[in-house]
Subunit: 345 residues, 2 copies
């Protein structure tokens, strides 16, 4: 199926684009009343993730309502631990919670390597999304990065410090690598399934990247991401991959050497410095402060245009530096999207 | 009173020291069973903060038990908002909680500028500590930085994103500056009181520095810290001041230009890069990963010595890159302290 708008794919590959493409992390979600209506009719967040027709519907909402240049499949990074054997609950206003966590060699041996079939609800949601979108915009598939997934599997919930997970890296490095390998293999299987279902590009989210030391990030986190990129690129060299390692300012140079197309920047990362560290062969994505969308349209316009100029006309995908916050006015989100779309260098 | 050990003061001033001084953030606290025994005999954390004799006792415990080169007065950064008129509770396993938060001009007008007398419990705790220590080691006084204090006063509790506080900066910048000025003035009064009570050096903690954009940090956070440093130095030019802005890697150069002696580094910050950005006229403090103290003595020793070599023999105060985690084995903490004390270049 021919894409009517492939701006984001061309930007990721470093091809010339007429304008900068734009989307938002967490664009399919609580900011939209249309999302909340569907979500509130269900038992919980996970029912929405696991119901392909509805997941597809909320995936497409921001394309219709906000006019973004890509749809990202509505799902959750924690479907991977679940497919490997660790059930979790998403507790309202608290976040994820796992009854069982990983602590020993036996715990790790008991985990299965997930196959795409174990995650058929997301695979099916992508198929339905592709069908319904009918080529209007590309679909982004995604996964968590192995370190972030491991941190939840050990910690059992969110944490301010993730000190249990980091302790595991210090005290049980061999087991940590075993677990990371199993997560990495599961993630590769899952992402292949997403591509077969029609995902046009992929993003790997390393949400807790910023909490590791440089040495630990290189040893425990980069390896899995590198393997994921290599495995995907070996089979699908043209499919763009984005790596977003939030807070990992200290390894931007190393991220720039990955076999991927785009590096996501958070709002603390200086654009010129990041370009220098990442190199000229990668596209950059980001990086407005999500809180900027609480300001006046005048401020949003000024800051968005300043950002666009700073990134320059090519090799940039406009986005926030993190997921859009749930209490953001969708009118302001649309204003941000429109500002990017109307801007010309 | 003559100090028997003034290593940390000399290191802060850039004078030659026989060895690197060492202390830990949160050394007076839950890691020590001796602390927990006192804490558990009371109604809560705040009773301990507000009882000078007991606050002094837990302040001195790590000097006796761990052999650190300084005592930091046991208190809490949130005593300032309370002295300004916002009561808070410290809820077990959850953190601080304010019933009333700041949202309007009237809210800010109703706040008082705190005087040292409003915080006499900490002032008295310093006096008692000084008396009991009898010159064994210097006493560090401290406060939160104005941005971090403002963030709690607006948010009302801890937060993963502090998005309400950041929204306030974007939407009500004039009010934000008014509130920051009032916090800054209160903090200066409080720190003067601490010095008069005998504090030998001061540390300003900007715990939520890393969540602001570079522009916002310069506009809203640095100004107050700068004013605090200037006010203290105008009256007490010889008293060393440390600024620890956790996560604010993006303004290390600007921090290096403050009228203070020492800049604290967190465990993500590269030592050589930080030295270059901060400049050669400041002492650096830090910066081992607190999770390192979960590892074997062999690893702790190797990593501590690697860090000491990287900082070099002068202008370094050894510490972790954040407060010691409460579940750390005190034996390991002592081993870290001893490793620093026994190391020779």
């Amino acid at each position: 199926m021919e894409l009517q708008n492939d701006l984001i794919l061309r930007a990721a590959r470093g091809e010339k684009t007429e304008r900068t493409p734009v989307w938002l992390m967490r664009q399919a979600g609580r900011i939209l009343p249309e999302y909340r209506a569907i979500r509130n009719s269900l038992s919980g967040f996970k029912e929405l993730v696991e119901t392909p027709g509805l997941a597809a519907e909320v995936t497409i909402q921001p394309v219709d309502i906000l006019g973004v240049d890509a749809a990202i499949i509505f799902s959750d990074i924690l479907v991977i631990p679940e497919a490997m054997g660790l059930q979790y609950e998403m507790i309202e206003k608290k976040g994820p919670w796992f009854e069982k966590t990983i602590n020993s060699a036996t715990d790790i041996e008991q985990l299965k390597v997930a196959e795409a079939d174990d995650l058929s609800y997301t695979i099916d949601a992508i198929k339905i999304t592709k069908e319904r979108l009918d080529g209007r915009v590309p679909v982004i598939g995604f996964s968590g990065a192995p370190w972030t997934i491991l941190s939840y599997m050990i910690e059992g919930s969110g944490s301010k410090t993730f000190s249990r997970a980091r302790r595991f890296l210090y005290t049980k490095p061999v087991l940590a690598h075993k677990l990371l390998d199993k997560i990495t293999q599961s993630t590769i299987n899952y992402l292949f399934g997403q591509i077969e279902a029609g995902a046009n590009m992929l993003q790997v989210f390393d949400s807790w990247a910023g909490i590791l030391t440089t040495e630990q990030y290189k040893e425990f986190a980069l390896k899995g991401i590198r393997e994921i990129c290599e495995a995907i690129k070996a089979k699908h060299p043209e499919l763009p991959i984005t790596v977003f390692a939030k807070g990992a300012y200290f390894v931007r140079k190393e991220l720039g050497q990955l076999n991927c197309n785009t590096i996501g920047l958070d709002w603390n990362m200086d654009i010129a410095e990041s370009r220098e560290l990442v190199g000229s062969n990668k596209t950059l994505q980001g990086n407005l402060d999500p809180c900027l969308l609480y300001s006046s349209e005048e401020t949003i316009k000024a800051e968005t245009e300043r950002m666009l100029r700073e990134f320059g006309p090519q090799r940039h995908i406009a986005n926030l530096g993190h997921g859009v916050y749930p209490d953001t006015d969708p009118g302001k989100v649309k204003f941000f999207v429109d500002t990017v779309k109307e801007f010309r260098f």
